[in-house]
């Protein structure tokens, strides 16, 4: 089991949910309002006057074999619409109930 944290511009929400459905990743946790900025080019998403855009985050814990297709799809999405901003991070799940 691995945890995938996807942070993305709010506008991606619908597309990411359908992607998760498509890949049979049922479980996820969704944080609607997330602020942040990219390490290189990513525009700040602060929901402020200067930077009005906002991010959201989805944490989905999936089986190991599903991680790669998911990341691949997400990467495609990011390349298609670079300006919006989408990142995914994966780490191990030690235990769960």
């Amino acid at each position: 089991m691995k945890s995938v944290l996807i942070t993305f511009d709010q506008a991606y929400y619908d597309r990411i949910i359908s992607l998760l459905d498509h890949l049979n990743c049922r479980g996820f946790s969704y944080i609607e309002q997330v602020k942040g900025r990219g390490s290189k080019k990513g525009e700040p998403h602060y929901g402020s006057h200067a930077w009005p855009a906002m991010c959201s985050a989805i944490m989905s814990v999936v089986e190991d074999e599903k991680v790669d297709p998911l990341l691949e799809e997400l990467h495609k999405l990011d390349i298609a619409t670079e300006k919006l901003g989408l990142r995914a991070f994966v780490w191990n799940i030690e235990k769960s109930i």
């Binding site: 511009d9 709010q10 506008a11 991606y12 929400y13 619908d14 597309r15 402020s48 006057h49 200067a50 930077w51 009005p52 855009a53 906002m54 298609a80 619409t81 670079e82 300006k83 919006l84």
Partner: protein
């Protein structure tokens, strides 16, 4: 869920909700009545008191004064004026606008009840009369007749008047110029004398003969019969055979001493239409009824009524006031549609996408249509003000929608799906859209709070704008995002045709951006030069202010002229009529391209003519009603024709008073402006001479075409002064003698002649040929109780004297109003000249001269608007300060406002337009529009700085990026106004100055704002940065000092605590 999220997710609900609004709006539109102005509540009450037999001075002292004194305490009273003339006192109470007239009427009634006991015993109870513009006739019909002329009154009364009066909303219908039938018994005084008869005896005998007397019932056998004496004449010729006496054993018949003529009444108003004798039917509306609807209804029934009339009776229309209203509203509707078209074009050019343009096309009409619901609910009408509001708002309602649309487009271009882009894009700008609408509320809401006459007009404008802005705000936050989600998509391919058409436009816009960036780059680096230049420009524009004239309301070309001419009092009707015919011929040939109908009325009106009894009439007065062709169909304007007519009238010195009234009536706002000067003073001779001097001087002033003095001339009249001793000697008294005189001249009504259910008077008097010299009056025989005849010349003398004119008072002081009719000059200038004249006059003690009338109204309105302007500035400042959370940014933005005013002044100067209330209103609206541009610029500059750019960089970047939205919103408002500014249709005089001032002000202020605001921003920013640096240096110094002296301070504290 927020409004925009909800509406994007529920497109069916959103679109149907707005569809419902549109349907309701269109339904309301179909029900809305059409009128020229918003409904004015009556603000005048008249109190009429009859005191028969009293002279003007008696009336003034015994009736008008006590009533004035008590009525003066009614609340909200503005002016109290009175006219005391023979037999009648007429008090006019003028109230502030916007008060409930019903309540005021009750107050007035209470006061009158209190004073009733103070009035003379013979005075009748005062009558309260509410006056309003409703009293002005809405339709005047001409009637031409040949054979039916003598029976015209009856024909019209039965066939026309009754049917017209039944139309809902019609108040009174009066006929003038059609005399009533009357049977005249013309006696020969010489024959009467020979047979020892008098007018009284004859009249009594006719009365006694012309009767039916029931004789009672009687029984014959089983039957009961009634007995009657039927003596009433059934043919007027029977009168001739009435036996009036006997002399030397033979009967004297009426035909022996008199001639019986079955004809019409003697003294009557005569009406001529285009030189042909006929009659005039005047239709007045009921209070509150809609003129256009009534006149439509009247016009609809006219063909039917015409069919019922005898073939030689022809009906025509002299004046139909609804023509002007309908034409004015139609031409305004046209400008609104053009404005809409222009705005859509601008949007398409700037956005370059048909889908975006379509969205704007849907949202603009929506807000406008929704405002009709407001009009219908509040019972308002489609009038000049409400339509102007639509025209003004077209350019503004797009702004909100465009801001939302642009941001959504940015999101889509970044890669978001239209639906998500619509939600998040709207979310980002929602606050600033609300804030910018708030600034518009800050401008327009105070308009709803003005009082006075301007208040009546602007209240509606203010509410309309607020309603439209509100709907547009809601639509831009719900409907626009929804439509964007459905219609907008990422443009991936452009068609060839589009590229060919749009490429040059794109190029031009890019060039504009680049040019502006360069200019701005120079501007922010030469800030003080920019400011100095702007200040110089402002001062120069102020210089042209002195050449701009001021006016209250422009006179409107409604194609109507009324001419009132007075010959010396006592001139015979025939003479007046000759002159009128001559004038008609002259005018009809001279102005044949302009005059449609020329109608005139001469003579004394009967008492049953409501219309005539309200206006001046008499044998010496000629009143013309002239109707011109539509503005578009003639070359010379109404004012020119009026001026030419005034010139023509100068060739007729026999008229003592000449008045050419532009617009047909002096009341209302359509009339020609007059500069009124009131001469107060008790001494009539002193005030008369001052007003005469003023008239002479005023006529020399440029632009004054006519001067009228309100006080009438002393009326020449003949008095019979009876010697009471001689009367007593002959066993007579004054009233018997007076009645004898009256019966011979005015006639005695002997009886009524009945025919077909109608009654006609039988009048006995001297034949006309015996009523033309003073001698024949002196020879009138008066019989005493003994039957002895005494001649009037033995009882007294007939002397010529003068009756005093009507005494006018205003605010409880005697007053004479000198009014100068202005043509081709500004009201303000003429009043200024008038004031100079007043200074040169030697005004005796107890006499004061004041300026009043439209100038007073104008001053009041200008003052009101100035206060309003200040109020709006404060409100706008508050809204902006709240939005920016800063006091300096609003201050920077407000620097653009003075240039709006210099733009207004320059535009008026260049187009040679006078400053009227409407142009000031345009100026006030500018505050909102101009400030909006400033907000857009400053907001984006702030954003750039927050993103880390330097002040100068931010100013330039923001300028470049916001140039298009600013130019676009300015252009939409500007182009929305252009159809109004160049419109030539009927009523254009009213809104042209407003449109011109908005265009001028907006153009100048936008251009300057684009340079000045970034420059001032940079100055403020540099001051801010310097201050910050200073404080940082200061803090560092303090910190260094503290570090250096730390040990001292800490040890001192320590030692203190140790101690």
């Amino acid at each position: 869920m927020s409004l925009y999220e909800g509406s994007v997710k529920k497109p069916i609900m959103t679109s149907l909700c707005f569809l419902a609004v549109v349907i309701m709006g269109l339904f309301s539109l179909s029900k809305l009545p059409i009128d020229l102005y918003p409904d004015f509540d009556t603000n005048t009450i008249m109190v009429i008191t009859y005191y028969p037999g009293a002279s003007a001075t008696d009336i003034e002292n015994n009736v008008s004064r006590p009533l004035e004194n008590s009525l003066n305490s009614v609340s909200n009273l503005k002016h109290i004026t009175s006219k005391s003339s023979e037999n009648v006192s007429l008090i006019t109470l003028e109230f502030e606008y916007g008060n409930d007239i019903a309540e005021i009427t009750n107050d007035v009634r209470d006061k009158l009840d209190m004073t009733n006991s103070m009035l003379p015993d013979d005075a009748e109870t005062p009558i309260i009369f509410k006056f309003s513009t409703d009293m002005i006739p809405i339709v005047m019909l001409s009637v031409q007749a040949n054979e039916s002329q003598s029976a015209l009154y009856k024909i019209l009364d039965e066939n026309l008047v009754n049917s017209l009066a039944r139309i809902p909303g019609v108040g009174t219908v009066s006929i003038s110029g059609a005399p009533k039938r009357e049977i005249q018994v013309y006696c020969d005084p010489n024959k009467l004398e020979a047979f020892d008869l008098s007018v009284e005896t004859i009249s009594a005998i006719i009365g006694a003969e012309n009767r039916n007397i029931p004789g009672g019932s009687f029984d014959i056998g089983n039957e009961t019969y009634s007995m009657r004496v039927e003596g009433e004449f059934d043919d007027s010729r029977q009168l001739q055979n009435v036996v009036v006496g006997s002399k030397n054993g033979s009967n004297i018949y009426l035909r022996d001493v008199a001639t019986v003529v079955d004809t019409v009444e003697e003294r009557v108003q005569q009406t001529y239409n285009n030189g042909v004798k006929g009659a005039m039917v005047i239709i007045q509306k009921q209070s509150g009824a809609n003129s256009v609807e009534i006149s439509k209804a009247v016009m609809k029934v006219l063909p039917e009524l015409q069919a019922k009339l005898p073939s030689d009776v022809k009906l025509g229309v002299i004046v139909d006031t609804s023509d002007n209203i309908i034409n004015t509203i139609d031409s305004l509707k046209e400008t609104v549609l053009f404005a809409l078209l222009f705005v859509i074009l601008v949007v398409f050019v700037f956005l370059g996408r048909w889908r975006a343009t379509l969205i704007i096309c849907i949202t603009i009409p929506l807000s406008l249509i929704a405002s009709f619901i407001y009009l219908a609910i509040t019972g308002n009408s489609l009038n000049v003000i409400s339509l102007s509001a639509l025209s003004i708002s077209i350019g503004m309602v797009v702004d909100d929608a465009i801001v939302v649309l642009e941001n959504i487009t940015t999101h889509i271009e970044r890669g978001a799906e239209p639906k998500q882009a619509a939600i998040h894009g709207t979310n980002e700008v929602a606050l600033s859209v609300i804030a910018s609408t708030m600034t518009m509320f800050a401008v327009f809401f105070p308009l709803t709070m003005i009082s006075g006459m301007t208040g009546v007009l602007f209240k509606q404008l203010g509410w309309m704008m607020c309603v439209i802005m509100f709907i547009s705000l809601i639509a831009s936050l719900s409907l626009t995002p929804m439509l964007c989600a459905k219609l907008l998509k990422l443009q991936k391919k452009q068609t060839k045709a589009f590229k060919i058409i749009y490429a040059p436009v794109e190029k031009a816009l890019d060039a504009l951006d680049d040019g502006y960036e360069k200019l701005l780059n120079w501007g922010v680096r030469h800030r003080w030069t920019v400011i100095a230049g702007c200040v110089v420009f402002f001062v120069v524009s102020l210089l042209s202010l002195s050449t701009i004239g001021t006016e209250f309301f422009p006179s409107q070309d409604n194609g109507r002229i009324a001419v009132k001419l007075e010959l010396p009092v006592g001139t015979r009707t025939e003479h007046a009529q000759d002159l009128a015919t001559k004038l008609t011929q002259e005018w009809m040939s001279k102005y044949k391209d302009e005059i449609k109908v020329c109608n005139y009325t001469v003579g004394q009106a009967g008492s049953d003519n409501t219309w005539a009894s309200l206006s001046d009439n008499g044998s010496h007065i000629i009143s013309f009603n002239i109707s011109l062709f539509d503005v578009a169909d003639r070359e010379r304007s109404l004012a020119t024709v009026c001026d030419l007519m005034r010139e023509d009238l100068k060739a007729y010195p026999e008229f003592v008073k000449k008045q050419v009234i532009l617009g047909g009536a002096n009341t209302g706002m359509s009339g020609q402006t007059t500069a009124d000067f009131e001469v107060y003073g008790y001494d009539m001779n002193a005030t008369d001479s001052i007003s005469l001097q003023m008239k002479r001087e005023l006529l020399k002033v440029k632009g004054v075409s006519e001067v009228n003095i309100s006080r009438g001339d002393y009326q020449p009249e003949y008095h019979v002064e009876f010697d009471r001793e001689k009367l007593a000697l002959h066993g007579l008294n004054l009233s018997t003698a007076g009645t004898y005189l009256r019966n011979r001249i005015n006639g005695a009504t002997a009886s009524k002649y009945r025919e077909d259910g109608d009654e006609y008077d039988i009048k006995v008097r001297y034949a006309p040929e015996f009523r033309t010299s003073l001698e024949s009056f002196e020879n009138i025989l008066i019989y005493n109780n003994k039957g002895q005849g005494v001649r009037i010349k033995e009882l007294g003398t007939v002397v010529e004297s003068f009756g005093p004119p009507t005494i006018e008072r205003k605010d409880r002081q005697r007053v004479v109003t000198v009014s100068a009719v202005i043509s081709g000059a500004a009201l303000g200038d003429v009043v200024a000249d008038g004031q100079k004249i007043i200074k040169t006059l030697h005004i005796p003690e107890g006499v004061t001269v004041a300026v009043s009338g439209s100038f007073e109204d104008q001053q009041e309105s200008f003052a009101d608007l100035a206060t309003l302007g200040l109020l709006i500035l404060i409100m706008v400042f508050i809204v902006m300060a709240a939005q920016f959370e800063s006091l300096s940014y609003p201050f920077i933005i407000m620097f653009s406002i003075p240039f709006a005013f210099s733009g207004v002044i320059l535009a008026l100067f260049v187009t040679n337009t006078t400053l009227i209330v409407m142009s000031l209103l345009g100026g006030i609206m500018l505050i909102g529009i101009v400030v909006k541009n400033g907000i857009v610029l400053i907001d984006y500059t702030n954003l750039c700085r927050e993103r880390g750019m330097s002040a100068i960089q931010s100013a330039i970047a923001a300028g470049r990026s916001r140039l298009r939205p600013v130019v676009m919103t300015t252009l939409t408002t500007l182009l929305g106004m252009i159809p109004m500014a160049i419109s030539q249709g009927q009523g254009a005089e009213m809104w042209r100055p407003m449109a011109i001032s908005v265009i001028g002000g907006l153009l100048v202020s936008t251009v300057l704002t684009l340079i000045l605001v970034p420059s001032i921003y940079c100055i403020f920013a540099s001051v801010g940065i310097k201050r910050e640096r200073k404080s940082m240096v200061h803090k560092r110094e303090i910190a260094a000092y503290y570090e250096a002296h730390k040990s001292e301070m800490v040890s001192r504290k320590k030692s203190k605590t140790e101690n």
